[in-house]
Each structure stands twice: as C-alpha cells, then as structure tokens.
C-alpha cells in the first residue's frame, strides 16, 4: 500500500513518541528519563501538527515541555541524591505491570480496531484557533470550564507552593 507523506510523518512522530516513551519508563537514570520524556513530548507535538491542530502543538511545546518537563527536571534535581545508579529503576511488580499494560493495550487496541468509528476526516476550518478562542470565552461555550480551569490552576499553584514550602 502506498504510504503517503502523512503516514510517513505519522510513523516517524509516532515512533519518536513511543520510543521515547518506552525509554522514559525503562531508563534507570531518572534524569535521562526526563529528557526522553521531553523528546516524547516533541513527538506528540509533531503529531498535533499532523492533525492540523497547530495551536495545540504550540500549547504542547509550551506547557508540557517548557513547563511540566522543566518542572520534572527541577524535581529530579532537588531529589537527585537519592537515585542510586546501582539500584534498578523498576520495582518488584514490573512484570505484573508489564503484563497489565500489555493486556490493557491489547484490550484497548482490540476495542479500537473492532469499532466502526465512521471517521470522515472533514476539512478543518481556516481559523479554527479563533473559533477555539471564541468558544472558550463564549458564555454558551466553555467560559465556565475555562474560568474553573483558571481557578483550578490557581488552587494548584497555591497548593503546590504550600506543600513544597520549606518548613
């Protein structure tokens, strides 16, 4: 079958994402794992682009990589002395976890593949970002969740500061 460009790009980004993800969960060195996490995020961003959602790709890059991943790196650095390279990265139940995840993956895959999604892949409007923005502040749209999300982040922000504060 002919693999189109999109498909190729999909495979590349997909491989990066999964590959990096796999490395994230298997690397003994947590810092390395964090870095691979960033790489995985990059792949995900690429996928967003592929899905014609450039705003989200940008949000991904900013929020995840620039925010969360950095945060993780900071956390790793703060808690760094603890990680002994000789100690294995996985705990005792990794095999069970592997089984579960594989089984889960199988189940999910099977469900996905056996369901008729009637995906039409219609055209994306030109200014979808504007529509997104308008929808977010639209009172009949998602302004409430939007504000709530703001409040949530505020709470989380305060909470995090409180929790992580030096006593």
């Amino acid at each position: 079958m002919q693999i189109t460009l999109q498909q190729t790009l999909f495979i590349v980004f997909g491989a990066i994402t999964l590959g990096a993800a796999l490395l994230v969960v298997t690397r003994r060195n947590v810092f390395h794992a964090a870095l691979f996490l960033m790489l995985s995020f990059f792949g995900v961003a690429g996928l967003y682009v592929l899905l014609e959602a450039p705003f989200l790709a940008a949000v991904q890059l900013i929020v995840y990589i620039g925010g969360i991943a950095i945060l993780i790196v900071f956390a790793i650095m703060v808690t760094r002395d603890m990680m002994n390279p000789d100690v294995p990265g996985a705990n005792r139940q990794w095999w069970a976890a592997a089984l579960v995840s594989v089984a889960l993956c199988g189940v999910l895959g099977w469900v996905v593949l056996n369901h008729d999604w009637r995906a039409t892949a219609g055209p994306v409007p030109e200014h979808s970002i504007a529509i997104l923005g308008a929808t977010l502040v639209d009172p009949e749209g998602f302004v409430l969740p939007f504000e709530v999300a703001s409040v949530l982040m505020l709470v989380a922000f305060i909470g995090a500061v409180t929790i992580a504060r030096e006593r």
């Binding site: 999109q6 498909q7 999909f10 997909g14 994402t17 999964l18 993800a21 994230v24 969960v25 947590v30 794992a33 964090a34 996928l47 592929l50 899905l51 959602a53 989200l56 949000v59 991904q60 995840y64 925010g67 969360i68 945060l71 993780i72 956390a75 703060v78 808690t79 603890m82 990680m83 294995p88 996985a90 005792r92 990794w94 976890a97 592997a98 579960v100 995840s101 594989v102 889960l104 993956c105 895959g109 593949l113 999604w117 995906a119 892949a121 219609g122 055209p123 997104l132 929808t135 998602f142 999300a149 949530l152 982040m153 989380a156 922000f157 909470g159 995090a160 409180t162 929790i163 992580a164």
Partner: protein, 102 residues
C-alpha cells in the same frame, strides 16, 4: 490520510506505556512522568477524535486545553508533594513510602 485507528492505537500504546511506568517505576518522579505520558495519550485521543469526527467545532480542542490545564496543575501539585515527601522521608522511592501499610 492517516486512518483514525492508527492514532487511537498509538494513543493506547502510549497510555499503556504510561501505565507501565506508573506501575513499575520506583522513583516517584518517574511515576509522575508515566502519568504525564498517560495524559498525553489522552490528549492525542481527544485531538484525533476532533479531527476525524467533528473538526468544525472547537469542542475537541477546548477539551484538550482543559486537559492541559489539569495536567499542569496536577504535575505541579504532584511534584510539590514529592518534594514535600522527600523533605520528610528523605526518600522518593515509592516502595519505601508505605505508612498506610496494614
């Protein structure tokens, strides 16, 4: 076109990878990273479904944005917790944090 199923399967695989990471990683931070992976898989699913089922509405993307928000909040709080635990317990190995052991 990339078939929707490919995205969904990818998201499932990413999710399960995240599950594996959550369940089997010793370090709490690594567990958090697995959680992020899972969230990422979720967002991928959302976006894929937006694109392939209702690209005209902004619902999918809005939803995805809210997931981002939650993920960020959760990551922040989680890491704060980890730091707090590290301060008191001097460890981030989840196996050693078993105060609720029965």
């Amino acid at each position: 076109m990339v078939p929707l199923e490919w995205y969904l399967v990818l998201a499932a695989a990413l999710f399960c990878t995240g599950v594996y990471g959550v369940l089997s990683r010793r370090s709490a931070v690594a567990v958090l990273m697995g959680v992020e992976l899972m969230l990422n898989a979720v967002i991928i699913n959302l976006v894929a479904f937006w694109r392939y089922l209702e690209p005209g509405a902004a619902t999918g993307q809005a939803f995805a944005l809210f997931v981002y928000a939650v993920a960020a909040a959760e990551a922040a709080v989680g890491l704060a917790l980890i730091i707090a635990v590290w301060r008191t317990r001097d460890t981030v190995i989840l196996e050693d944090i078993d105060l609720l052991k029965g």
